[in-house]
């Protein structure tokens, strides 16, 4: 029953269509798009008010504050990754598609990063200036966030996939995912602090890159399996 008018798409096209769809969905629900960014800004703004506005103190903790704020803000947006698709039945149709589920998952994670991690990375120099991060560490902060935030999205997606079938998955996802975020945080902030003291950061970047590579390969498979389990219940 084949017909020449049907859509026989390659894997690349399916990836691209899924990515475009998720970006379009995010663009049409702009308040969801903005809230993690506002959260990111708020955390970094409140910190000096709560602790100390001393430039010397702030310049020491700036890397950590920006990184923790980015991490929490990613976590905040993670629960929504599969939630609406689960609620309206789109996820069922994704599972019943002959296209590989892991590919669709990668496209969705990619879209998630483009609307959460990427804007955070772009905004980070602004916060870094606000927190008196030494000039020499600015580049390191941007680069580590650029490598680190996709990893956060990939790892977070596993938690989102596992908890999507639960009514209140938000807290559980935090408990599941936060321990896995620790290595990314350690090497991310480590690199920025090393750069601030004028030390080489290649080693840190190599490890962050390795974690990202591992995440890109393994996380989509794990997420696909998690989604199958979540939907089958």
């Amino acid at each position: 029953m084949t017909n020449s008018t049907t859509s026989d798409l390659g894997l690349g096209a399916v990836f691209w269509i899924t990515l475009k769809r998720d970006l379009l969905l995010a663009f049409r629900r702009r308040n969801d798009l903005v809230s993690p960014l506002v959260f990111f800004l708020m955390v970094a703004t409140l910190f000096p008010l709560g602790v100390s506005p001393e430039p010397k103190f702030l310049s020491e903790v700036a890397a950590g504050v920006v990184w923790v704020a980015a991490l929490l803000s990613t976590l905040l947006s993670m629960d929504g990754l599969f939630r609406t698709d689960f609620d309206d039945g789109s996820l069922e149709q994704m599972l019943l598609s002959p296209q590989p589920l892991a590919l669709l998952v990668v496209a969705k994670i990619c879209a998630h990063w483009m609307i959460s991690g990427l804007p955070l990375t772009i905004m980070s120099p602004l916060l870094a200036v606000m927190l008196f991060l030494p000039d020499g560490a600015m580049g390191a902060l941007v680069v580590t966030l650029l490598i680190g935030t996709p990893t956060l999205s990939l790892i977070g997606a596993i938690g989102a996939g596992l908890t999507v079938g639960l009514r209140k998955g938000g807290v559980l996802i935090t408990l599941l995912v936060l321990p896995l975020y620790i290595p990314v945080l350690i090497f991310g902030t480590g690199a920025v602090q090393a750069a601030a003291s004028g030390l080489p950061i290649n080693g840190y970047l190599a490890i962050l890159g390795a974690i990202l590579a591992l995440g890109v390969v393994l996380a989509p498979i794990a997420v696909a399996a998690a989604l199958r389990i979540s939907v089958s219940n």
Binding site: N3, T5, T6, S7, D87, D88, E92, P98, S232
Partner: protein
């Protein structure tokens, strides 16, 4: 005898320590329409989810074209159109965008704009193709999802309550469509509480065992 398109052997499913069905056997040949009957809670939706592969909480065997379904999964998914309780329609997308996304996931679907508009017209949504689905009614959202039936070339349709929230005229049109699909060699499994006016309709009754027991009780 030709191999049935879909065949279930000795299906057993239990939910919350209650047996929904056991020893369930049936075969669906090309050109047949099979209605799954039973009262609410008798496991109709569960059966359809098991047959489509969404749920794996069962025992027994399912064969697609004579092969175990787990071994011919890709082939099976390409031949399947599943219409579930949830319409699978994104509220922030327009009907046309929704159908295009579905077509990307399911290669056996028409993607030409004329065909999509024609399908929307067939389900009574002419002129709504650019309206976001959140401003459509519940019934109209189900119709967007049902428009897939006009676009898909998949031979096997699994439809869970396709007529819910659809008006009388719409139901008659869908019945005609199901008959046409069967006449063209396709197969349909569906659940519905409507009286279906379809020729060659076969039925599987899930409530049979329990109702038989209920009838016997007063004699005791």
């Amino acid at each position: 005898m030709s191999t049935p398109l879909l065949e279930a052997k000795q299906l057993f499913c239990e939910r919350d320590e209650r047996v929904l069905f056991e020893g369930l056997d049936f075969a669906l040949n090309a050109g047949e329409v099979l209605q799954v009957e039973g009262p609410n809670g008798s496991g109709k939706t569960t059966l359809l989810r098991i047959l489509s592969g969404l749920s794996s909480a069962f025992e027994g065997d399912i064969f697609f074209q004579g092969e175990p379904v787990s071994e011919v999964r890709d082939n099976f998914l390409q031949s399947l159109l599943y219409f579930g309780h949830l319409p699978g329609v994104k509220a922030t997308l327009t009907p046309e965008e929704n159908l295009r996304w579905y077509a990307a996931l399911h290669p056996e679907t028409d993607t030409m704009r004329e065909r999509i508009l024609e399908a929307l017209e067939n389900v009574g949504l002419f002129g709504y193709e650019d309206v976001p689905c959140h401003s459509l009614s519940a019934g109209q959202n189900r119709r967007v999802s049902l428009a897939r039936l006009y676009l898909s070339h998949a031979p096997l349709w699994i439809l869970d309550e396709p007529f819910t929230a659809i008006d009388k005229k719409g139901v008659a049109a869908k019945e005609a469509l199901i008959e046409k699909h069967a006449a063209a060699g396709g197969s349909v499994i569906l659940t519905t509480h409507h009286e279906l006016a379809i020729k060659n309709l076969r039925q599987v009754n899930l409530g049979r065992i329990e109702t038989a027991e209920l009838r016997e009780q007063p004699n005791d």
